[in-house]
Amino acid sequence: MTFLPIVERELRVAARRKGTHWLWLSAALLAMAAVFIVVLGSQRSASPQSLGKWVFHIVSGMAFTFGLLAGVFLTSDCLCSEKRDGTLGLLFLTDLKGYDVVLGKLAATSIVSVYALLAVIPMLGLPLVMGGVSFGEFGRMTLALVGTLFLSLATGMLASAMSQETRSAMMASFGVMLGLTAGVFGVSWAVYHVFNWKPVEYLALLSPLGAFMFSHEPQYNIGWSATGYWISLGLVFALGLGQLIAACLVLPRGWQASGLEVSRRSETGRAHRAVADGNPFQWLLERDAFPGPLTRVIASLLFLIWLCFLAATFLVGRADQHEMMMASFAATIALHVIGKSLLAVQASRRFSEDRRSGALELLLTTPIQVGTILTAQRTVLKCQFQWFQTALLGANLGLIATLIFVVGRQSNDWEPAAVLSTVCVGGSVLWLVDTRALTWLAMWMGLRGSRHHRAVLNSLSRILAPPWLAFGLFIFLTHGASSAWQVLAYWSLWFVFSILSALLAVKHRRRELLEDFRRLAAGDKKHTAFDALQPWSPGWKAAVFTRPAA
């Protein structure tokens, strides 16, 4: 008898998949690029030790972010897609148990992320040669990264086991990871700084960010760093394990839920809403209740965290004011990224799912125009994200006002306030450009037929990755800048680059959507008249000799 038969099969399948190898290669290249940027951007006088520390911080930061998001993009779809397709039931008709399926799927989806992490670890070990980082720090960091990845993947599995839809599973796992990192850590940090209440610090141990921060601690043996690190790491693994066990228990009970849900809804009955004459596709999109309660809770939580940091700027003493201000600034950046991610999820969803179900094929054989479909999609997205956009632009304005009227006026040093305010303005402009670009690109990705979570990941990586890579470079350029105005110039350059990169990424996709929508939906490669005339093409005779109908 084979122990865990699905694990073996899924590992074989995953090992043959091209994407598995591409991801670890990309992770290694990305880490190498980060090291290269650090070394290039550093000042000549910088010692190898300080360079080593920078490399360690940046590479570990990248790997940590990847670990946090791995569950959202890799595991959150794996069980719910099987539930929707009705294939999960077939597995449970055999002797397989919940743990067979959960561990099998976990193995299949996590192998990619494990490879990626393994590819990054040699870059993380580079500072051991350069100096500035000890073996202990390296080992602790590696363990913290493994723990974070495990927790994230387990969260995705549980969310997937409990959901029917990819979007809700992605949102749930993102919400949990956000709560466990920014939520728990941010709240305990802010409460400690504002109220000086030390016990709240223990709350941060629940967060994978706790283990991550402790593993950066150079004076590990002094104070309670060592204890804190191991407790935090233990809690992270325990949380991950707990979620995996919960997924194993939930799955065998939840796989029949879709049918029951449908019949239950059928019994209760909903108010029938007639389709208006104008744009039927818009009616279809408006039926989708977005933002749902989960999204509203997550977004409210995010804005609350941001508000806490901003309020703390006024409440803390001048010594801590700068830290709080920077925390509000970081929270605003996080809000931008999260808002864009939500938009990518929503923009790609309808096309991706309808293409898989075949509903799009039916729709495209009706006289409905492609323009009508695209207009509806954009109009509804605009309405669905109006609230987020307003809140986000408000947050930017709030931050600018605080920077100018509180920080600048109190310290009488206007230059940093001016730089950060300009960044806020640039961020707002970039939001408008990026959301437009993401709308088109995510629709294109969804239409190409990749699974929903992959469409989201691909869209985000094409729009957000180039600016964030450049961001690393600019941080180092600004690090060596002599004046605030030089920093401002660098930032302006970064905004221009980001805007151009977004426009370039979407240029051809937009045209393709407008002109070749049906071809994309049919999964058809572009055929030209030249293709048909190739001597090896069997169609060439027909193309040349067919007489057009009278």
Binding site: R265, V275, L362, A521, H527, A542, P548
Partner: protein
């Protein structure tokens, strides 16, 4: 003199390739208006590709396809108004109610709101789903979802129906009901192109068929025509209560009979060609004093024809 009516569907050298794979190879096909046309072929023969091209969802690599005179590429909008396409999968929005679903597609066909409710009720009645108006689609059985698919196809009263495996996965009763609906639609003057693997049903349902294999048209015409083409000679089976050897001798003496032999207690007679009237068999036996108790003709079924055709047993 009036011009002949436009063919419902006409393809000229229709070719479709997927990379190096040829799905359709210069297909020439004509379907007349009012036909109930069976489209037969093994898996991967090119039936679905043809229907998807006719439904304007897929572009041909070469050649031309016309639906009621409209080119599927150049005049796709006009084609979409006159066709109703039902693919071999459901493509339904499972969280919608039956009426919402039809209402939505009615709006896609620009049927005015005032008229839509009546149209929805009419098509639901036609397919026998009136009682399921408020039901969620996800809660319907496979057969009912199939009927709903047919109702969707009929919502804008199209003149040409393209149905890809409409009876697949249905139980015998649902299949018979589906076929009855299709016959009713033909009586209403619609042209129906139906692709199916259930050849015994196509045999009784369709007036014309086309057989395609590896993207090439092998036969197109009346069902009887393909049988005639396949049968080299007419085969008659008789049973006599008198001496069977004598009966065989009597029959062998006739120039119209190419072969007569005993098989399973019957006499199997092969006539030299198809046009010979089988009454000569009865006549010969009765005149020769044999006592005839059974006479039947061996009819070649569409399934047998299909197997022979796809084995390359015909030209």
């Amino acid at each position: 003199m009036s011009a002949p009516p436009l063919p419902a569907v006409q393809t000229l050298g229709l070719t479709r390739t997927y990379g190096s794979m040829v799905a359709l190879n210069a297909l020439d096909l004509t379907v007349n208006q009012g036909d109930l046309f069976g489209f037969i072929g093994s898996n991967g023969a090119g039936k679905t590709t043809t229907l998807r091209i006719l439904a304007t969802f897929l572009a041909p690599s070469a050649g031309q396809a016309l639906v009621l005179g409209h080119d599927v590429v150049r005049d796709a909008d006009a084609v979409r108004h006159v066709i109703g396409y039902m693919p071999d999968f459901f493509g339904v929005y499972k969280d919608m109610e039956v009426t919402e679903y039809l209402d939505f597609f009615g709006a896609c066909y620009k049927i005015p709101t005032a008229q839509r409710e009546k149209t929805v009720n009419d098509v639901l009645e036609l397919v026998g789903l009136s009682e399921k108006k408020g039901a969620l689609i996800g809660a319907l059985s496979r057969g009912m979802q199939q009927r709903l698919g047919l109702a969707r196809v009929l919502i804008h009263d199209p003149r040409v129906l393209l149905l890809d495996e409409p009876a697949s996965g249905l139980d015998p009763r649902a299949r018979i009901e589906m076929m009855a609906i299709l016959q009713e639609l033909q009586r209403m003057g619609k042209t129906i192109i139906i692709s199916s693997h259930i050849l015994s049903e196509l045999q009784t349902l369709c007036n014309r068929v086309a057989i395609i294999e590896k993207g090439k048209l092998i036969y197109a015409g009346p069902v009887q025509g393909v049988r005639d083409q396949m049968q080299t000679g007419r085969v008659i089976w008789v049973k006599v209560s008198s001496d069977q050897t004598q009966a065989i001798e009597l029959l062998k003496a006739r120039p119209e009979v190419s072969q007569a032999e005993s098989e399973d207690g019957h006499v199997k007679i092969t006539l030299v060609n198809h046009d010979i009237d089988h009454s000569i068999v009865a006549d010969t036996l009765v005149r020769g004093g044999a006592r005839l108790i059974e006479l039947r003709e061996d009819e070649l079924g569409l399934e047998e024809v299909f197997l022979r055709v796809t084995r390359g047993e015909t030209q």
